[in-house]
């Protein structure tokens, strides 16, 4: 048992960037003599060889599968076959929607050590230890895997650094058994909600969250956003309630505030899924009545106070 197996992710012909971050995580776990192999499952896996030829990869395993896009049965069967053949001691996948769909089933079936949403992995006295968050990220939890010869870790995105240098790993075609799939993927649907706002392009965003309490309060913040020249965004509960269109939702399943430089979050607690869409912004100002809200952990400036009062005072200054 040795070596690290990384499962890359692709969607609609594009390698998902988190795949390369997994290689950064693998580098930190590599011991002398360990090989890092990265597997890509796709209808035409060879087309991803270039993108995966980066420093830290010893081998690329191209796995041709019948389903062009993610399919749980296909992944479980092919990744299971890879583990059986290669006996890696660590398998890394992304903590992503695709792995939500298969990793736990594979771990349960094969009895692999298993942890998800892992943001740190290291060996302590030779034992693999993974760190994840708990209770709304208020605590960190170290877990280990006694007696497990193979450990499957789902790695949090935007934590590990993707290798930048190109390399020339060897490429091996892996013949995976073709699974009978019990699900059939159909079309992809881009989320559009009759609102032509482009959150990804906005440089100044004012976001509202659950703290606004009721739909009638949205107008006050829309007006404030207009007055100060910000694009109005929201966290998940606001979009789910239909108070603002889904196209304004910032976070993992919504939009990433890619171009944003100033981000004001009002009444946003800072769930990890929301932070994924905005924590990179250079100036974040959080306004929240709960001094313990996790949003203060990523903000540059914090205001602990009543969001309505602050909003009203701020409005009077513009």
């Amino acid at each position: 048992m040795s070596g690290i197996l990384v499962i890359a992710e692709q969607r609609r012909g594009e390698l998902r960037p988190v795949s390369l971050e997994l290689l950064g995580a693998a580098e930190g776990l590599r011991r002398t003599g360990d090989e890092v192999a990265v597997a890509i499952l796709a209808g035409a896996p060879d087309r991803f060889v270039g993108a995966l030829s980066v420093a830290g990869v010893d081998e690329i395993l191209t796995v041709k599968v019948a389903s062009p896009e993610f399919d749980a049965d296909t992944f479980e069967s092919a990744v299971g076959a890879l583990i059986a053949k290669r006996s890696p001691d660590v398998v890394l996948v992304a903590h992503s929607v695709d792995s939500f769909g298969f990793a736990a089933a594979l771990a349960a079936r094969l009895g692999l050590g298993f942890a998800t949403d892992v943001f740190n992995a290291e060996r302590i006295d030779g034992e693999l230890v993974a760190t994840r968050g708990g209770y709304g990220q208020k605590v960190s939890i170290e877990v280990d895997f006694p007696g497990r010869s193979t450990v499957l870790l789902a790695i949090r995105g935007n934590v590990f650094k993707a290798p930048e240098q190109a390399a020339s790993p060897r490429v091996t075609a892996f013949d995976a058994p073709q699974a009978a799939s019990r699900a059939a993927g159909r079309d992809f649907i881009e989320l559009s909600a009759g609102d032509d706002v482009d959150m990804a392009a906005a440089e100044f965003i004012l976001t509202i969250g659950r703290g606004i309490g009721e739909e009638a309060k949205v107008a006050q913040f829309r007006e404030l956003a207009d007055a100060i020249g910000a694009t109005l965004g929201c966290s998940r509960p606001i979009a789910d309630a239909g108070w603002l269109p889904k196209s304004r939702q910032v976070g993992q399943s919504g939009k990433t505030a890619s171009a944003c430089k100033l981000y004001i979050a009002m009444g946003v607690s800072g769930a990890i899924q929301h932070l994924a869409g905005m924590k990179h912004v250079s100036t974040i100002i959080a306004v929240n009545s709960d001094a313990e809200a996790s949003i203060f952990g990523v903000a540059k400036y914090g205001i602990v106070g009543d969001i309505f009062e602050i909003a009203e005072e701020l409005r009077s200054l513009f």
Partner: protein, 266 residues
């Protein structure tokens, strides 16, 4: 026809919580317990399907937990579940999500539902794996992060959309029975009426032991888990620079920062 809905009584932390003496969890005295937010949506989805169905559909809520989980199960009964089952045994303590899934699968074998719903994840430990691992133990088809669903109880397949990253959805057809993990926002969970809360309080909750679901102590707890908590601690966090003063002063400083930004922006 039957839909089984797996629910969890989750724990949020009180403001000044403390870590337990053994350093492996938070002292339970500081837990604020509630029904997991995701599970509110999966229960609602099951109740909606029941209400729309031509044939009778039974919605059964199941939870693995000690006595305090009854509170969440009563909430499910008040919101439209027909029956509630709770499984507990001292051996289940220290189980990870996979060991819990083994118990849920054992209940599903006993109940033989046409469909099983679970939340995408729990708000306390967020493993996002219990539902899918349950499917593995059952050998059922499964899908994660379902954000809309078309399903008639007893049908051989269901069509759903799974919510991907970055505002993308994918439509998928899946064979049934299946395990689907349900995402927030798939519906609007109802509030329980006072009357239904009262009625729920009078309904029985079936309490099952491990033996009742044909499991042994070694199937759960640390032995039945794929991970073990080694240590829990409060991390050093980055901390925002607080803007003090009354609301007017705080807003004035905020206005300065905005003007500074706008002055610098091209």
């Amino acid at each position: 026809m039957k839909i089984l809905v797996a629910v969890k009584q989750v724990s949020a932390l009180d403001e000044d919580f403390e870590i337990r003496d053994d350093g492996r969890d938070v002292d339970p005295e500081f837990f604020i317990r509630d029904l997991n937010e995701w599970d509110d949506f999966s229960l609602e989805e099951a109740v909606k399907i029941k209400e729309a169905a031509a044939e009778p559909v039974e919605v059964v809520a199941v939870s693995v937990g000690a006595g305090e989980a009854d509170e969440s199960l009563r909430k499910c009964l008040a919101k439209g579940a027909d029956r509630a089952i709770r499984v507990w045994d001292a051996a289940i303590e220290d189980s990870d999500s996979i060991a819990i899934a083994r118990v849920l699968a054992a209940v599903a074998k006993r109940e033989a539902p046409n469909m099983l719903f679970a939340g995408v994840q729990s708000s306390d430990h967020s493993f996002a794996s219990t539902g899918i691992a349950t499917a593995a133990f059952l050998g059922w088809p499964h899908a994660a992060v379902v954000s809309s669903l078309a399903y008639s109880p007893g049908a051989k397949s269901a069509v759903f959309r799974r919510e991907l990253e970055g505002g993308l959805l994918q439509e998928v057809e899946i064979q049934c029975p299946a395990v689907l993990t349900i995402q927030l926002g798939i519906n609007t969970p109802r509030y329980a009426s006072l009357r239904s809360i009262k009625q729920a309080a009078a309904k029985p909750i079936e309490v099952l032991s491990l033996a009742d679901v044909a499991l042994r102590a070694a199937d759960v707890g640390e032995a039945g888990s794929l991970s073990r908590v080694r240590r829990m601690y409060v991390p050093d966090k980055g901390r925002a620079q607080l803007i003090d003063g009354d609301a007017a002063q705080q807003a004035a400083r905020l206005a300065d920062i905005i003007r500074e930004f706008k002055g610098a922006a091209p």
